[in-house]
Amino acid sequence: MEFDENRNNRKTSRKKMTVIALIPLIVLSGMLVFLLGPGMSILNIGIPLPEITIEKIEFQNDKIVAFIRNTGPEGVDVAQADINDRMIPAGIEPSKTLSRLAEAKVIVPFSWIAGVPYEVGITTSDGTRFSKSVEAAALAPTPNVEQASYFAIIGIYVGVIPVLIGLLWFPFIKRLSMNKYKFFLSLTAGLLVFLGIDALVESNGIVGQNIAGAFNGQVLIAMITIITFLVLLYTSEKLVERAKMKSDDNTSKSNLVTYSSSPSSTTKIPQKQQQQQLAKPFAIAMMIAIGIGLHDFGEGLAIGAAVLLGEVALSTFLIVGFTLHNTTEGLAIVAPMAKSGGKVTIRKLIVMGLIAGIPTIVGAWIGGFLYSPIAAIIFLSIGAGAIFQVVYSITSWMSSNTSEPRKAMLSTPMIAGFTVGMAIMYATSLLIPS
């Protein structure tokens, strides 16, 4: 009986909780009905202005295709299209009536000239004209095997090979003295901070040029960056914990042996700690590889989009610039592992190099064949979040290795390394036209 009463009590209290939680929602929906309901004129303040965003312009054989979106507060009717502010008859698919955030494709028959700038204009029924210009018209790549393999080759040149070249610094870094090593480790942190800032600036640029205000692009960037940072931080901490538990199991078996067999072990690092140390650098290196992979994906997007959007000269320079720039990324991957003392196989290194590099190819495909500005900023923000998490891991790992973390962080090699890292990135980034 008592048990039943308890259960009933719990049930009623749960019901109560639900009701209490729902009451504000019910009141809120009542208010919305009141405000938006028929006959309510309180919200009819001002005139809603239409807004059309031209997200992408493609130059195809004898036609120009513009992908537009209604980013205004209400539905609009598209009335006319023009090229360089001159009316041209055009087709619009699926319909000239666009509901809020709906998309349409405007196809304008036009004999365009390669390399010449063009402006595409869209006029809505109230006479407002929206336009977007392209610096130099170039035939849009069509998704076929030839084009895909072309992008793949570019991706390999830009992403995979340079990162693998950078990995060749592994033996060099392994033989460095501790101070010089610290220099290179913080240099890595410097490189990464630069890449993170670069990704944020880049995505902010896309927001300014291609994303309508309706999408709150800048807030989206900040949100995704922070969420990525937190999720990766949580995951990597879990990973390290796992590795620690595993090494605990191993060492508990061999503990006695270790300590008894070598009396001088007090001066050495206990095996347990050593294993832990190996687990952490590896995890950091993997995180760096993933972070750089996302960053390189962004680079791939940039290259593909440059080809698609007709910035031809730009994409050639872009490719050379990224190739040089990305060599330093290999260095960033190997640095944390070099001094860990654990077995670092060549296979492991190559896998990490590939994780960091291959996304460039995927990025080039997506950028070249189905460029979407929103997807681009999402990737760049994820990359930025991942990179900042890696920087956090490196610095916390470096400081946890010493008895005086603060002093270690402010040592000469650290500051010098960080500064030089950023400077190198800035110098190589000058090779990439923006």
Binding site: M87, I88, I92, I378
Partner: protein, 403 residues
């Protein structure tokens, strides 16, 4: 180690999959849009769209809607009717005063109106008698002209006539408030081609929103009989950026491209050409395959020039006289090509004689006949009721009388 490696790799893969999902979700719509052609082949109706104004230009096929103001008149609101305006002269209610002078009474009402000024494009306009341009007012030199002006608009307006009259009839200092009215009274002098427009400040706004019209004063000895028409060159600044988005003759961009003006071979054509174009410094008129006698401001019966192109600044005007030697379609347009390509373009269709079938029987939504299809003797389009009778207006013959 291998276990944590597996975890790491699987996390990496999961994140890649998540990203791919997000990407495909976000770009899903555009992928569909891009591949539209793939599933548009069967069953669906496709329309051919031609760039430019005629065959020979690039064409595309579309399953969607067509945005075409050059080849077809897709307007839903036909308040502005350039074909009606072209040959409509208003002589007023005619009476004779005690001393034998002809008195012409007109009523002009200013009103706000949302007009479709180009296919699909609507503008909040200010109008005289509901359309842009306002009605053409015509009198003979020496007539007494009385214009009762009623302001039904939301802003104060006036009517300022060009010509010779007293200060208080100049439409500058007597401001007519909304709901008010005023009667302008003056003698039509001298003969020539004039215009009228609102003179409220800001003048630029009152003119660019549509308050203007043509005012013709005929000489006492009439000009020779001719096929007469009015052409008012104007523009529309729909987005209020101080630049015109559309340029027209008689109110609708490209209208006479799909509704060619029909004229007869060897018949004398007289065009009363006025430029009211706001914002732009100049505007001009160019006639294809022909030259015209030009009477600047129409104040002389002797032509001042024999030319094919004439350039006006705002408020300037002149009378053009010409006839075509050969039948066929001929373009006329602003030789300022920007204006031409933004709508100030039209066609004369010269017919052998009046008995030829009518080619301008386009109803709404029908495709225009391209010039190449209207070669000399192949007027193929079906005959329908004429939307405007070609009337030859000559002085003294008009039903409204006057002498």
């Amino acid at each position: 180690m291998s276990r944590s490696k597996i975890i790491l790799v699987s996390i990496f893969l999961t994140s890649i999959l998540t990203i791919t999902f997000v990407i495909s979700f976000l770009s899903g719509i555009s992928v569909i849009a891009q591949n539209n052609n793939a599933f548009s082949k069967e069953g669906e109706k496709t329309t051919v769209v031609t760039g430019g104004h005629g065959t020979g230009y690039n064409t595309i096929r579309t399953t969607g809607d067509v945005l075409d103001s050059i080849n077809a008149d897709e307007r839903t609101d036909l308040t502005i009717d350039p074909m009606k305006y072209l040959r409509e002269f208003n002589y007023g209610r005619v009476s004779t005063t005690d001393n034998g002078t002809t008195l012409r009474d007109f009523t002009i009402i200013a009103q706000d109106k949302n007009l479709e000024v180009s296919p699909g494009v609507f503008m909040d306009a200010w109008t005289f008698n509901g359309t842009i341009p306002g009605p053409t007012i015509r009198a003979t030199e020496g007539d007494l002209v009385k214009i009762k002006f009623i302001n039904n608009g939301s802003k104060p307006h006036t009517m300022h006539f060009h010509g010779i009259h007293q200060s208080q009839m100049d439409g500058v200092f007597e401001i007519i408030a909304p709901g008010g009215s005023f009667t302008y009274e003056f003698t039509a002098e001298p003969f020539g081609l004039f215009l009228y427009h609102c003179h409220m400040q800001p003048l630029e706004e009152h003119i660019s929103k549509g308050l203007y019209g043509v005012y013709i004063v005929d000489p006492k000895t009439p000009r020779p009989p001719a096929d007469e028409m009015v052409m008012m060159m104007n523009g529309y600044d729909n987005d209020f950026d101080g630049e015109n988005n559309f340029y027209t003759v008689n109110g609708i961009p490209n209208y006479y491209m799909h509704h060619p003006i029909q004229i007869e071979k060897n018949n004398l054509i007289r065009v009363y050409l006025v430029n009211i174009l706001e914002f732009d410094q100049i505007n001009n008129f160019h006639l294809h395959a022909n030259l015209f006698q030009f009477y600047r401001t129409g104040t002389s019966l002797t032509p001042t020039e024999y030319t094919d192109t004439v350039t006006f600044s705002q408020g300037e005007r002149g009378i053009l006289e010409f006839s075509y030697k050969y039948p066929g379609p001929y373009m006329f347009h602003a030789h300022k090509t920007e204006f031409a390509e933004k709508g100030w373009t039209g066609l004369f269709l010269v017919k052998e004689d009046q008995s030829e079938p009518d080619v301008t029987a386009f109803t709404k939504g029908e495709r225009a006949v391209y010039p190449s299809e209207i070669s000399n003797n192949t007027f193929t389009t079906q005959t329908k009721t004429k939307d405007s009778q070609s009337t030859i207006v000559s002085y003294g013959e008009s039903s409204q009388g006057g002498s």
